[in-house]
C-alpha cells in the first residue's frame, strides 16, 4: 500500500518514470563510495527547481527525510539515505552551462559533470581550477555541497573559493538566491559560503554561479626522490617559504611507491622513502626560473634525485603514475578506507610519524599519499570487509588518525566532508559550543529536520566510527 505522501508525490512529479519504486532501483540509490547500504522509500529525479520546490514542500508537510544526491562519488557518506524517505537525484538537472566571458563567470545546473564545465571553460580560454580526482564523474552540485578539493588546492583553493552565488531550494520548499555575480559582495551574511560544504543539510542547490580565472600560460612538473621522509617534509616547507607557490605538491610514501611499481611499473625508485611531485604553472619564463630554484632547494635538504619535465608527454607520464596510486593500493586488499585528515603543513613529518605508529599498533596495511602542499594527507587503510576482526582494528585506527590530526592543529576533513563517517568526532574539533552553534543554524534552516538527517551532526549516543554491523 502506498503511503499518502507517496501518492501525493505522483501528483508533484507528473512524469512518473522519474519516481523510482522497485527494489533494485531503491537499493541502487542506497550507497555511495563510502560505507553502508540503505534503502530509501522513493527515488525522485527532478528536472528543474520548481519540481525540487514541490518535492521539498511535500516532504516538509509530511516530515519525510530528503537526501540530495549527485553521482554518489562521496567518500564520507553524504548522500546515504539513513532513515528511508526520498533520495533526490539531481543528475538530470543539466539544462544550463552558460559562460559569461566578460565577467569571467559561469552559470551552471547542479547535475552537470564537473569536467564538462572545465572543458567548456577551457575552450573559452579560461580556467576553473578545482580538480577533485572524481571530476570526470562527479557533479558540480555535489562538489559544491561537499566543498571538494583536489591537488590544485594548494595554490587555487577548493570549490568554495570559486562559488559566487547559488540558487537554493530551502527545506520548506522556498526558492532563494544567495550571493550574486560580482567578485566583491559583502551584503549581509555570507549565506553562499554557509551553503557550500553544508553537505545537503540546509537545502538543495539548483543553480551555481562560478568564478573563472585566466588560464595559466604553461606548466612544468618536477619529480623529487627522498631517502628520508623527514627530508621530504622539510622540502615542502622550504619550497613554500621561499616564495614559490606550486599549483600542486603531491607526496607518496614508500608503501604507495611499491604498490604502484607492483601494479604497473612507472619507473619510480622502489627503495625511496618518499617522492614529491611538484607542479608549477604560470608565465613560462617565471616557472623556468622557479623550477631551477625548486631543484636547488630539494637537493639542499637531501633529495636524492630531481627530474624536471617540461614537455606535455613527459609531464603526463609523471602524473599518470600518481593517478595509479588508488588502483595500485586496492590490489593490496579489497576494502579501501580513504581518509583526508589535514594538518598544518609544518606538521606533515610529525603526522607521517604518527601514521606509521598507528600502522604498527593496529597491524594494518596503511599507506599514505596526498596533497602535501596544503597539508591534506590521504592515509588509506586497505582491509577486507569480510574480516570482522580486522575491520574492528580499522575503526580504532581511523579514530586515532582523526585524533592525531586534531591534536596537531589540523582538521577532520580537507576535502571529503563529514557525512556519516566523521560526525562522532565533530565535538573534538569544534568544541561543544562550536558544534552547538552549527546545530542552531541547522535548526533555523530546517525546523523539521528533513534535510539529509544523520549527517555532520552525531546522533545521540554516536561516539565512534562503526564500519562493522
Amino acid at each position: 500500500m502506498n503511503k499518502k505522501w507517496q501518492i501525493e508525490l505522483e501528483n508533484v512529479i507528473k512524469d512518473n518514470k522519474r519516481i523510482l519504486t522497485n527494489p533494485a532501483d531503491l537499493l541502487s540509490y542506497g550507497f555511495d563510495a563510502s560505507f553502508g547500504q540503505y534503502k530509501p522509500e522513493r527515488v525522485v529525479q527532478p528536472l528543474n527547481r520548481e519540481e525540487v520546490a514541490e518535492v521539498m514542500k511535500l516532504a516538509n508537510k509530511h516530515s519525510i527525510p530528503v537526501y540530495p544526491r549527485g553521482q554518489g562519488t562521496c567518500l564520507s557518506g553524504g548522500p546515504l539515505p539513513l532513515k528511508g524517505g526520498i533520495v533526490l537525484d539531481t543528475c538530470r538537472m543539466t539544462a544550463k552551462l552558460i559562460i559569461d566571458s566578460e565577467n569571467l563567470t559561469a552559470v551552471v545546473s547542479p547535475g552537470i559533470i564537473t569536467s564538462k564545465i572545465k572543458e567548456a571553460v577551457d575552450k573559452e580560454g579560461f580556467f576553473y581550477p578545482p580538480d577533485p580526482s572524481s571530476a570526470h564523474v562527479s557533479t558540480i552540485g555535489g562538489n559544491v555541497a561537499e566543498n571538494s578539493g583536489g591537488p590544485r588546492g594548494l595554490k587555487y583553493g577548493v570549490t568554495g573559493n570559486y562559488v559566487l552565488g547559488l540558487e537554493v531550494v530551502t527545506p520548506e520548499g522556498e526558492i532563494i538566491n544567495t550571493g550574486g555575480r560580482t567578485i566583491k559582495n559583502v551584503t549581509g551574511y555570507n549565506l553562499t559560503q554557509l551553503l557550500v560544504g553544508s553537505e545537503g543539510t540546509l537545502g538543495v542547490i539548483t543553480e551555481i554561479t562560478l568564478r573563472l580565472i585566466p588560464k595559466p600560460k604553461s606548466r612544468v612538473s618536477i619529480l623529487t626522490v627522498f631517502d628520508d621522509l623527514m627530508d621530504s617534509g622539510r622540502a615542502i616547507s622550504r619550497v613554500l617559504s621561499s616564495g614559490i607557490m606550486p599549483s600542486a605538491m603531491e607526496i607518496m610514501d614508500k608503501h604507495c611507491i611499491k604498490a604502484v611499481e607492483n601494479y604497473k611499473p612507472a619507473g619510480y625508485p622502489t627503495d625511496a622513502a618518499a617522492i614529491l611531485l611538484i607542479e608549477l604553472d604560470g608565465h613560462p619564463k617565471a616557472i623556468e626560473e622557479e623550477a631551477q630554484q625548486v631543484d636547488q632547494i630539494c637537493r639542499e635538504v637531501g633529495a636524492r634525485d630531481v627530474q624536471i619535465a617540461v614537455g606535455e608527454e613527459d609531464q603526463k607520464k609523471l602524473w599518470e603514475a600518481r593517478k595509479l596510486v588508488s588502483p595500485a593500493i586496492a590490489k593490496i586488499k579489497p576494502t579501501k578506507i580513504s581518509e583526508d585528515a589535514t594538518v598544518p603543513r609544518s606538521k606533515i613529518p610529525e603526522m607521517f610519524d604518527r601514521l606509521n605508529k598507528i600502522r604498527d599498533k593496529y597491524n594494518l596495511e596503511l599507506v599514505v599519499f596526498g596533497h602535501a602542499g596544503d597539508g591534506n594527507l590521504h592515509p588509506n587503510i586497505l582491509a577486507d570487509k569480510r574480516d570482522r576482526d580486522e575491520m574492528k582494528r580499522v575503526e580504532m585506527a581511523v579514530a586515532e588518525i582523526f585524533e592525531a590530526a586534531i591534536e596537531l592543529g589540523g582538521t577532520l576533513s580537507g576535502e571529503h566532508g563529514i557525512g556519516t563517517m566523521k560526525s562522532p568526532f565533530m565535538e573534538k574539533e569544534l568544541g561543544t559550543m562550536g558544534l552547538a552553534m552549527m546545530k542552531r543554524v541547522k535548526e533555523a534552516w530546517d525546523p523539521n529536520n528533513i534535510m539529509n538527517p544523520g549527517k555532520i551532526f552525531p546522533e545521540k549516543g554516536q561516539s565512534k566510527l562503526v564500519l562493522t554491523e
Binding site: 541502487s28 563510495a33 553521482q71 570526470h136 564523474v137 562527479s138 586496492a330
Partner: protein, 433 residues
C-alpha cells in the same frame, strides 16, 4: 535462501568479485545504458551492487533480471575501472543464476532453444539459414513480404533487421569453398580461419575476403570443417555448459592443424575464443589446451598489421569513420590495428567520431530482445557519427555492422553513407596481382 543454498548462490554469482569494486563511479560515464536510461540501476556499479545484494539475501533473484538483461555486456566499464574489477565475470555469474532460476515464458524458451540450442552450433543449421535467405531474396518473396508488411509480424522486431541484412550467397558458391588456400608469394605464416556461425551464413563474402587478404599478405589459410559456433550467445544467455561443449569442439578442431594462429574476423567471436581458458578453468584435461588455443587466437586486423599490411590501390577520396567492436576493444584490447590499417589506405580521410569506443547497441542479440533500449543507444551513436561527415562507417563485427546499417536507415542517410566490415573495405581496394 538460507545457509548452504546462499553459499552456493554466492559461489555461482561471482560474489567474491564484487568486493573488488570500490564504488568510485568511474564506470558511470562510459556506460551506454547509464547514459541513455539515466538511472544507477543500469550502471555497472549499480549492477555489481545488486549482484552483491542478491548474494547476501537482501534482494530477490528475480529483481536482478531487468538490470542484468538490459546490460549490453560491452565491458567498457572494465577498461575504465581503476581497480580492475572483473565485471564480465560478475555479469556472467548473474546470467547463469538468472537462467537457472527462470521459469521461461514459452515463446522465449522456444526461440532460444531453436536459435541458440540448435541453429548456431550446427553448420547445417547455419547453412540452412544461408540457403533460406538466398531463396527468400531470389524468389521475390522478400519483396512481397516487405511490401505487404509481413516482415513487421516477425517475432521480436526481427523484421526491422531483416531489412538491413546483406545479400545472401548462392548455395552453390557456399558449397564450393575449399579447405585450404595457399599464400600468394612468399609464405610468412600458416593460419586457420575461424569462420563463425553468423559470419559464415550471412557474411560468407566477408569470410571469403578474409581468406583473400590473408593470402595476399603471405599466409596459408586452412578452414577446418569440424569447427563450430564460438558459444558467445550461449555464454551471454547463461548457458555456460553449452558454451563449454562448443569450446571443446573448437579446440579439438583447430588442434588438428599445424598452424601459427587461429584467425577470426568478428569482434564478438574473438572475445569468446579468448575466454576459453577461463571457461574451461575447472576442467584439468582442457585447461592447458585452452590456454594454447587462446594464446594463438588473433583478430584479422592484428595479423594483417603484423604481416606489414597489404598493398592497396589508391581509390577515390573517401571520408571514413570507425565504429570499434566493444568485444574487440574491451575484451581483446585490440584498438590500434584496425584504425592503423584504415589510415594507411591511400585516398582515405579518417575522422574519429566522438566516444567511438562506446557500444552501438547491437551487443549480440541485445538489439533484438531489447529493441527500444538498443535504438536509444544507437541514436546517441548516430549523433556522434554525423558530425564526421563520413561516407563510410567501418566496423569489425557483424552485429555492429548490421546495427550501423540500421542507424543509417533510421537517419535516412542511405544515399550518402554506407557501413562496411573492415575486411570487405580492405578487399575492395586490394591490389590484384
Amino acid at each position: 535462501m538460507k545457509g548452504q543454498s546462499l553459499k552456493d548462490l554466492q559461489q555461482k554469482i561471482g560474489y567474491k568479485y564484487t568486493f573488488d569494486c570500490v564504488q568510485c563511479a568511474y564506470c558511470l560515464p562510459v556506460c551506454p545504458t547509464y547514459e541513455t536510461m539515466g538511472i544507477e540501476t543500469h550502471s555497472p556499479r549499480g549492477r555489481i551492487n545488486l549482484v552483491k545484494m542478491v548474494a547476501e539475501g537482501q534482494m530477490e533473484i528475480e529483481d536482478l533480471r531487468e538490470p542484468i538483461e538490459k546490460c549490453l555486456g560491452c565491458q567498457a566499464c572494465v577498461t575504465a575501472c581503476p581497480t580492475d574489477t572483473q565485471y564480465g565475470r560478475i555479469l556472467e555469474g548473474a546470467k547463469e543464476v538468472l537462467n537457472d532460476w527462470e521459469k521461461k515464458s514459452i515463446s522465449k524458451k522456444i526461440t532460444e532453444k531453436i536459435v541458440i540450442g540448435k541453429l548456431f552450433p550446427s553448420s547445417s543449421g547455419m547453412d540452412m539459414i544461408g540457403h533460406i535467405m538466398w531463396g527468400y531474396e531470389k524468389t521475390g518473396l522478400q519483396k512481397l513480404a516487405r511490401k505487404t508488411g509481413l516482415t513487421s509480424l516477425a517475432p521480436m522486431r526481427l523484421g526491422k533487421f531483416e531489412q538491413v541484412l546483406p545479400s545472401p550467397v548462392a548455395p552453390k558458391e557456399r558449397k564450393s569453398r575449399k579447405n585450404y588456400y595457399p599464400a600468394k608469394g612468399k609464405v610468412q605464416l600458416t593460419v586457420a580461419l575461424f569462420t563463425g556461425c553468423i559470419m559464415d551464413s550471412m557474411f560468407f563474402t566477408t569470410n571469403q575476403n578474409t581468406i583473400k587478404l590473408l593470402n595476399h599478405a603471405g599466409a596459408n589459410v586452412y578452414i577446418p570443417e569440424e569447427q563450430t559456433c564460438c558459444g558467445a550467445l550461449h555464454s551471454h544467455s547463461g548457458e555456460a555448459n553449452e558454451a563449454r561443449k562448443l569450446a571443446i569442439r573448437n579446440i579439438k578442431a583447430f588442434e588438428e592443424y599445424n598452424i601459427d594462429y587461429v584467425v577470426n574476423n568478428a569482434g564478438g567471436c574473438g572475445a569468446q575464443l579468448s575466454e576459453y581458458e577461463h571457461l574451461l578453468s575447472e576442467e584439468p584435461e582442457w585447461k592447458a589446451r585452452a590456454h594454447l588455443f587462446v594464446q594463438n587466437s588473433k583478430d584479422i586486423s592484428t595479423v594483417l598489421w603484423d604481416l606489414g599490411g597489404i598493398q592497396l590501390l589508391e581509390a577515390k577520396e573517401e571520408v571514413v569513420t570507425y565504429q570499434p567492436s566493444c568485444h574487440l576493444t574491451h575484451v581483446q584490447k585490440v584498438t590500434r590495428e584496425p584504425k592503423a590499417l584504415i589510415e594507411t589506405i591511400p585516398g582515405v580521410i579518417f575522422r574519429e567520431m566522438k566516444d567511438e569506443q562506446k557500444c552501438c547497441g547491437s551487443a549480440g542479440i541485445y538489439n533484438i530482445v531489447n529493441y527500444e533500449e538498443s535504438m536509444d543507444i544507437l541514436d546517441v551513436k548516430m549523433d556522434h557519427m554525423k558530425p564526421t561527415k563520413a561516407n563510410t562507417i567501418v566496423t569489425t563485427n557483424p552485429g555492429c555492422l548490421l546495427q550501423m546499417k540500421m542507424g543509417i536507415k533510421r537517419e535516412g542517410l542511405e544515399d550518402s553513407v554506407r557501413a562496411v566490415h573492415l575486411v570487405d573495405f580492405l578487399a575492395e581496394r586490394l591490389l590484384e596481382n
